[in-house]
């Protein structure tokens, strides 16, 4: 009994499918012939070449880049500590770019403080060092780097320099920075950076003197 029902059910489905197939074929044939007729008629009236009109202004430009970086900042007399910061860059030509940066680092105790064991020279709040700057960079040695046989990446060795401000020990100081960096473009829009900078500013914490503060950082930037 059950077997007979199954056969009946299957036959119905099969029949239904056949009918659907036949009718759809007939319909598509109909559409095709009428389409052909239309095309022929249109061809007679006006020959038209299909053209894609796309606005050239829609081309994606990737001249801006935002970056985050981290590394070591050696504050003169105040130890070497981790620095973290962000940069925005605008690439004007294939050679020249402008960059604005902001970064933050903690400084540690001076040797005098740790040896004497006396009262600290600065409060914890004043020990934080922040800087911002605006710089001009120059892609000195653009090139390509190869990994194995099938991979090539665009790279650039650049020199950079600029001016800015350093806030440290509750004091703001005009700061000159200069250095060099290496940019490795993993893709068109993602770059890996290695940077070495010297930040020079005057301080009068221990009598007026000029300090050189070296910074080594690595980071990545996204072009948009």
């Amino acid at each position: 009994m059950e077997g007979r029902f199954r056969i009946l059910f299957l036959t119905t489905i099969l029949l239904g499918m056949c009918m659907l197939l036949v009718s759809s074929m007939a319909w598509s044939a109909d559409v095709a012939t009428s389409g052909d007729n239309d095309a022929v008629q249109q061809q007679v009236i006006q020959p038209q070449v299909e053209r894609r009109t796309i606005d050239i202004d829609t081309i994606d430009t990737e001249d801006f880049a935002i970056a985050i970086f981290s590394g070591l900042y050696s504050a003169e007399d105040f130890g070497t500590n981790m620095v973290i910061g962000a940069r925005v860059a605008y690439h004007v030509t294939e050679r020249v770019f402008f960059e604005a940066a902001y970064a933050k680092t903690d400084t540690s105790e001076t040797s005098y403080e740790s040896l004497s064991g006396g009262a600290p020279l600065l409060s914890d709040n004043d020990r934080e060092l922040t800087y911002y700057n605006a710089s001009v960079g120059f892609n000195l040695l653009p090139g390509e780097a190869f990994i194995g046989k099938g991979w090539a990446f665009n790279t650039a060795l650049y020199v950079i320099g600029g001016v800015g401000n350093t806030s440290f020990a509750n004091d703001d100081r005009f700061t000159i920075n200069f250095g060099a960096g290496y940019r490795f473009l993993a893709t068109d829009w993602l770059a890996i950076h290695l940077d070495v900078r010297n930040h020079i500013f005057d301080t009068d914490l221990f009598g007026e003197k000029t300090t050189n503060n070296l910074e080594f950082t690595g980071g990545f930037s996204i072009f948009f």
Binding site: R52, I59, V163
Partner: protein
Amino acid sequence: MRAGLCALLLLLVTLVNADEDVYPEVKVADPYIELHTGPGEGYPIVHVVDRGDFVEVIKRKTDWFKVRTAKGKIGWVSRIQMEKTLTPNGEVAEFADVGFGDFSKRRWEMGLVGGAFNGAPVMTVYGAYALGANLSAEISASQVTGDFSSSDLVNFNLLSQPFSKWRYSPFFTLGIGQITTSPSVTLIQVEDSQDLIAHMGIGIKMYLTRRFIFRAEYKNYVGFTSVDDNKEFEEWKAGFAFFF
């Protein structure tokens, strides 16, 4: 976990699909164009595309365009060569760049200038909005980092540029603001002082390239201090700005 993976996969698929976007196509009109491996004149040329062939323009970096040929070869072409291509309609493809013509039509301007404020280093960031062809309103924030004290200035000023169409365009400016001075910590603790200031200035803007201008100015400030006599400050500054 699985839902997250699915979402990630979906995202990847959409990203990949986004890559298959329809890009603008241009037709090579010069005898040939050269495809470099990177966006720079030094990168080696790996392909050439002959006159009459189409290339798809994928993206742009500074003055270089990343294109894809009909055969799927990808490379970077300079703007000079791209300017000699045609759109599918047969018109000259215009890769119009921001140029000197836009300088006099600019609406917004932002810049960073540095110099000396009464002998101490000063850095200023400013934004300007053009009210008309010759008049603009500016707001600026400055930081003066002196040996004994540092000051923050906020200024609002009107700037008149009588010859706005000149490449070297002089300007006059008049404004008011506030100066907040805080002495260096190593000296005795003194309260920050806040005073009203007014200034007038003269300067020049010079169009450089693309969106960039060079700006140099001299300003004379009068500070209406809480003590009886007014203070005068002199400021010299120069820097770069861009407009849009």
